[in-house]
Amino acid sequence: MSLASWQELRVSGVSKRFDGGVWIIKDIDLRIEKGSFVCILGPSGCGKSTLLDMLAGFERPTQGQIGYDDRMIEGPGPDRVVIFQDVSNALFPWLSVEENVAFGIRGQPLQERQRLAKEAIEQVGLSAHLRKFPSELSGGMKQRAQIARGLVMNPDVLLMDEPFGALDAFTRQKLQVELKRLWSATGKTIVFITHDVSEAITLATHVIVMSAGPGSGILDAFEPGLGLEATGPSDPAWVAAHHRLQTRIEQAGGYARAA
């Protein structure tokens, strides 16, 4: 579901804590341009998933605001579909791939829903597995199905919470390449959480580095500036960008927050 025009997804002075506990994240300012591919990179426990939950509308900031330009985000909605890492629970086990992908489409006759679902399934290369159930799919195939279910909603933003974190290295790389291709073909805005520097370099137009928690903030912002074809260490530009980002993280004292 696409919204009326907007320029940027704006996170302004956002802090979050639960029930008066310690601050998970503190004073985050972020501008995510429409059409960009933003990777939020940070160590485990730095609150990057909490940030994503707030972008999705599952959680509200304790302080600060999140919105499209000046329009505040009030709650979850199909303009910001979330792709979860735990795909075995994210897909409905009693529905086939096709039914899972069509799950969120509303206000359309059945045939149209099926047509849209098939189209999205083709985009992620799962056409041969339309009628299979999630338990019959590999982890990578399940994640493709979940991505198709997101794409079919035609959202403004795809929010991806370490979606490839549980996959083997080979499948992960393959899906990274395809996600990058899908992003460039559809022009969607993607916010992608990861703790993997290589993954961030491969995918992102903008890498946002978060410091270690608690009370984590933004340590650095980095633009790899790589093309679609740069997808791994076989590409010199990729290696250079990887090195530069790694160095900047180390210079900042690992992920420790600069005092």
């Binding site: 979330v82 799950f103 999630p134």
Partner: protein, 252 residues
Amino acid sequence: MKALWLAIIVVGLLLVWAAAAAQVGNPLLLPAPHEVFKAAATLWQSGDLSDHALASLGRLLVGLAVGVPVGACLGCLMGLNPVVDALLNPYVRFFNAIPALALVPFSLILLGVTEISRYALLVYTISLVVLLSARQGVRNIPRIRLKTAESLGIGRAATLFRVVIPSCFPSILAGVRTALGLGVMVIVAAEMLGADSGLGYLIMQARSQFSMANMLVGVIGLGLLSLLLDRAFVLGIEWFFPRWSIRRRVQA
């Protein structure tokens, strides 16, 4: 292969039984297998055996028809609503500790030696078991699954029907399967203390006639009835609800 092992075990048990019967040497105390088979054949030919088995089965089905919907609805309600849960949970735990067997005399005096009294005991047992498994099923729904529905813009009512109920369906089925076994136990106890039909009645009648053979026919019949019910239940789920079939869930 599985069938071969089953046959070996059954034949082995029969041999042990026959040897024990020969040792005892008194068919009034322990009849040999062939004498029990003969008794079974007689009871079958007269139509008594199937009448009694069907009487027990019919009562069980009535108990299920009332107990499963009541238990499933209350259990889901408790799983969904913390207020309802807090209100009802102490009573559920209280009654859960009281087996229907302990209530048989109470029920016979209060409701009389009637079908109603037997149905009441069955509904009591079945609805409690199904209630607890439905409640647990709702509570065990993965958070991610509900977040997925929210993120896709599915409303609350639609989430209930499209996510919550299908999610706890396997737990409810598991509860019904447990209730089948418990139901057989309860119905037999109720039939022993006041009924004119059913496998429980057959066993008590054999006791009063000092017919160990007929008694064993009743006992073995009960075991077979339970076994058949369980198999029929599993196959029925695979047939009617292939999406929730036990085989598929094992794979998942």
